[in-house]
């Protein structure tokens, strides 16, 4: 049974390991995955701890449906206090690690303390062993995994590892698995590095009993039909996520030159179709690869066609690498994008964050805030591909003053750089924004401003808002499972009803993150994709748990509020430019200069934005400062946290 998978508490300092079952009443409150991780984080960390100190607690988990017939039940969730934001750290990756963890008997790992020397965890059929990793330290992401397989003499071992960037405590280092699957936000790899934990290796052959096997099979077939019938997933299955960057760049919704522009003009060489054309050996419809159990297969495979890394095999690039290494630094060169993508995959750093930080530094250099003395002679200008590649290396290995400084993340770097460098930093809660430009899309702007892990597109983005869907379609999506009869608008430049959309999407994404399935399998990029109502069936057939759509909605709300409580405890206040639900002043002050005629001149309206936040708080049952009211906490049964049920 999925429900008999355990939680393990591992103290790296003492070597003490304790395993416990997860009680059914805890499951019914938090399901698993991100939701239960949030509960564990709130219960197993003290206020104000150093995220890179031994008192931080690292959670690694599979969703409650991990490895079951839920279609892409592949997601691994990682949580800890973030060394980048000093607030909630949370990251999620596909691949094959979470299912293997589940077959090895576990859904949740709670890792505390710091090992004296480098170690890795070996998790095998209910047993956990702490093993020496001194020979792995310094190895790249894939080298580490292959070396562990060799040591354990088992090709089927799956690992979650940190790369050199994590070892070097780059504050936005990834936890990774496989070639490129990345738990890539908020610096969870640095937390691993700070604990001297190089990897978690798992291999399992334990049954996960399916509650109703034939029904689960039949329903899964129907669920998959639903998922692959979406046009968006058919496009993803041939071009991968770069298709979104291409489409968005077309109308002026991406960032270019550190948010100076909202379009990267004449970027034909990095259009997804072009990447497909030049990576002839591996891309194209049948040269895509998929995560566990997934029929969308959105991950492209490629070999770098030329340059110093010619012939190297990798996967991706995703939207984020298109933005980070193409559009934002204005390096419109496919080989640069593919090479940069390979470097961050090997060294294990967040492509999104590092691309943003380098572009920020490029603007500071062009504005004279950084000088060539600071860059050790590097001409850190937009469009300088070599400077981009060089800075990726310097940051991952903390080389030179600037590499070391930028490795600290935007806010800390801005304090070291001084002058008005902070004003140029496009961040929320200390985390860089995706390379999308939200000035013409208020709903998306609200989403990044309020995301619980800082600026992010996978926390609450109502992407279908861009499709101009008829109001009756919007009502069908956003009016369930709890009724909503307030205003909704098909116009994505409007502020009307957007607070509800963001609130709804937050709970929807929390739902999939608890279940452990992929966001491409829910209402993210397509209105016809499954959500709460559909999940009740997957949950029932696979685990036997009987829940209504509103039950799942309630769980998601509870989990989201736990995340909010954590952030408030760690210092979030509504209007704090560094730790609040705010946006960089450029969103309000600088109009869009490029793109479709109607996008030109767009800014976010301060007053309307403020009102939208008020509405959003109200939907949540939070006061005007964004603090859950006592009634809300009571309603959700979390008025006595931390309650230490686990």
């Amino acid at each position: 049974m999925a429900l008999d998978r355990k939680v393990a508490y591992i103290d790296l300092a003492t070597g003490n390991i304790e395993t416990r079952p997860i009680p059914l009443d805890v499951r019914k409150k938090y399901l698993g995955g991100r939701g239960l991780d949030a509960y564990l984080l709130y219960n197993h960390t003290e206020k104000g701890i150093d995220p890179l100190g031994p008192k931080n607690t690292l959670m690694i988990s599979a969703g409650i449906l991990g490895a079951t017939l839920a279609s892409a039940s592949a997601r691994t969730h990682i949580m800890a206090k973030s060394p980048l934001t000093d607030l909630l750290g949370s990251a999620n990756m596909g691949g094959f690690f979470a299912p293997e963890l589940a077959w090895a008997g576990f859904h949740h790992l709670v890792i505390k303390g710091k090992a004296k020397d480098p170690v890795y965890l070996w998790i095998h059929n209910g047993e956990i062993e702490i093993r020496d990793a001194s020979n792995l330290w310094g190895k790249t992401v894939t080298e580490t995994q292959w070396a562990i397989r060799e040591e354990l003499d088992d090709e089927d071992v799956k690992c979650a590892v940190c790369g050199p960037a994590g070892e070097n405590l780059v504050r936005y280092a990834n936890v990774m698995t496989g070639i490129k699957n990345s738990a890539g936000r908020s610096g969870m790899g640095a937390v691993m590095g700070s604990k001297n934990l190089k990897a978690v290796a798992a291999r399992g052959t334990m049954d996960i009993k399916i509650a109703h096997p034939m029904d689960a099979l039949n329903y899964n077939r129907r669920f998959i039909d639903q998922i692959v019938s979406a046009k968006v997933n058919q496009t993803q299955g041939t071009l991968g996520t770069p298709f979104i960057w291409g489409a968005t760049n077309s109308w002026g919704g991406v960032r270019c030159r550190n948010f100076q522009y909202n379009q990267c003009e004449y970027a034909d060489d990095i259009e997804p179709e072009r990447l497909d054309e030049i990576a002839t050996e591996t891309m194209g419809p049948y040269h895509m690869t998929g995560c566990f159990g997934c029929q969308v297969h959105c991950r492209a495979q490629y070999k770098i066609p030329s340059g110093p890394y010619a012939g190297k095999y990798d996967e991706g690039p995703e939207y984020t690498s298109e933005g980070a290494f193409g559009g934002e630094p204005d390096c419109k060169n496919a080989v640069t994008v593919l090479t940069s993508n390979h470097l961050v995959d090997q060294w294990g750093v967040d492509n999104l964050e590092i691309g943003s930080i380098i572009s920020w530094a490029m603007e500071l250099f062009e504005e004279g805030i950084l000088t060539s003395k600071d860059t050790d002679g590097l001409e850190l200008r937009f469009g300088n591909d070599e400077a981009l590649l060089e800075m990726i290396r310097r940051i991952c290995f903390r080389e030179g003053w600037l590499g070391d400084t930028l490795a600290e993340g935007g806010i800390q770097a801005s304090e070291k750089i001084g002058k008005d460098s902070f004003e140029y930093l496009i961040q929320v809660k200390g985390m860089s924004n995706l390379h999308s430009d939200e000035r013409a899309t208020p709903a998306l702007a609200l989403g990044i401003a309020t995301g619980s892990r800082g600026s992010d597109h996978l926390r609450s983005r109502p992407a279908i808002d861009l499709y101009h869907l008829p109001e009756e379609v919007l009502r069908k999506v956003y009016g369930n499972p709890v009724p909503y009869d307030g205003p909704l608008s098909s116009d994505h430049t409007s502020y009307v009803g957007k607070a509800w959309m963001v609130f709804w999407q937050e709970l929807c994404y929390m739902g999939v993150d608890c279940l452990g399935i992929c966001k491409y399998h829910t209402t993210f990029l397509g209105a016809t994709l499954p959500n709460f109502e559909d999940w009740t069936k997957v949950l029932y057939y696979n685990t036997g748990l009987e829940m209504s759509p509103t039950d799942i909605w309630g769980i998601a709300e509870r989990c989201y509020n736990i995340e909010r409580l954590f952030n408030l405890r760690e210092g979030l206040t509504r209007d704090d430019p560094r730790k609040g639900d705010t946006l960089n002043h450029r969103y309000f002050d600088e109009p869009c200069l490029r793109g479709a005629p109607d996008v030109i001149g767009a800014t976010i309206d301060r007053k309307k934005f403020h009102k939208m936040i008020d509405e959003y708080y109200e939907h949540h049952g939070w006061d005007e400062n964004g603090v859950p009211t006592p009634e809300t906490l009571k309603r959700l049964g979390i008025d006595k946290e931390p309650s230490h049920l686990l």
């Binding site: 052959t205 399916i210 099979l217 998959i224 049948y286 690869t289 998929g290 159990g293 095999y313």
Partner: protein, 168 residues
């Protein structure tokens, strides 16, 4: 006319490596998610992006049948596949050693040998593989499809060569 018998046709060039076939196989046969109990397995070379699903070929002159000391293996007449009679099988694993494809497995939980039984004519791996890397086709069609693919490659190469020649 005698039924031709259908076979699993695997085209590994299409495989995306998702392993859903392993999952549905273990659910269908054992009611559990556990790829180690699946009859089909995707063998992977991740660093090259190469994924090859391996399953029983239902050999005509099957080494597993030949090697079985108690004659527990035989050919099923209706679906034309190699079948294990568990009432007779002694679990000696001679068939596991003999199979040239590694397609005969030993299930350590049920303590029995396991192999593809074509799911009574509705192979679940085929039912779920959207990319059609695994298909269930009449035995005589396999080589026809391969001929067509080869012919297509040949004709494309010929056209390319002609174009190059024209440029000279």
């Amino acid at each position: 006319m005698e039924p031709m018998g259908k076979v699993l046709m695997i085209n590994y060039e299409k495989c995306t490596g998702c392993r859903l076939c392993e999952l549905v196989c273990s659910v269908m046969h054992e009611g559990v998610s556990n790829p180690s109990r699946s009859r089909i397995k995707v063998v992977k070379w991740e660093s090259e992006g190469l994924y090859v699903p391996i399953s029983c070929q239902q050999c005509q002159d099957a080494p597993c049948v030949n090697v079985c000391p108690v004659k527990a293996l035989s050919r099923d007449e209706t679906l034309d596949f190699v079948e294990v009679d568990y009432d007779v099988c002694i679990g000696c694993r001679a068939c596991v050693s003999a199979c040239p494809f590694g397609a005969m497995s030993f299930d350590v939980i049920a303590k029995k040998v396991i192999k593809c039984d074509l799911c009574d004519g509705d192979p679940q791996c085929v039912r779920f593989c959207e990319i059609e890397a695994v298909e269930y086709v009449d035995a005589d069609r396999v080589s026809v499809f391969k001929k067509r693919d080869a012919a297509q490659r040949l004709s494309a190469a010929q056209k390319e060569a002609a174009a190059l020649q024209a440029q000279l």
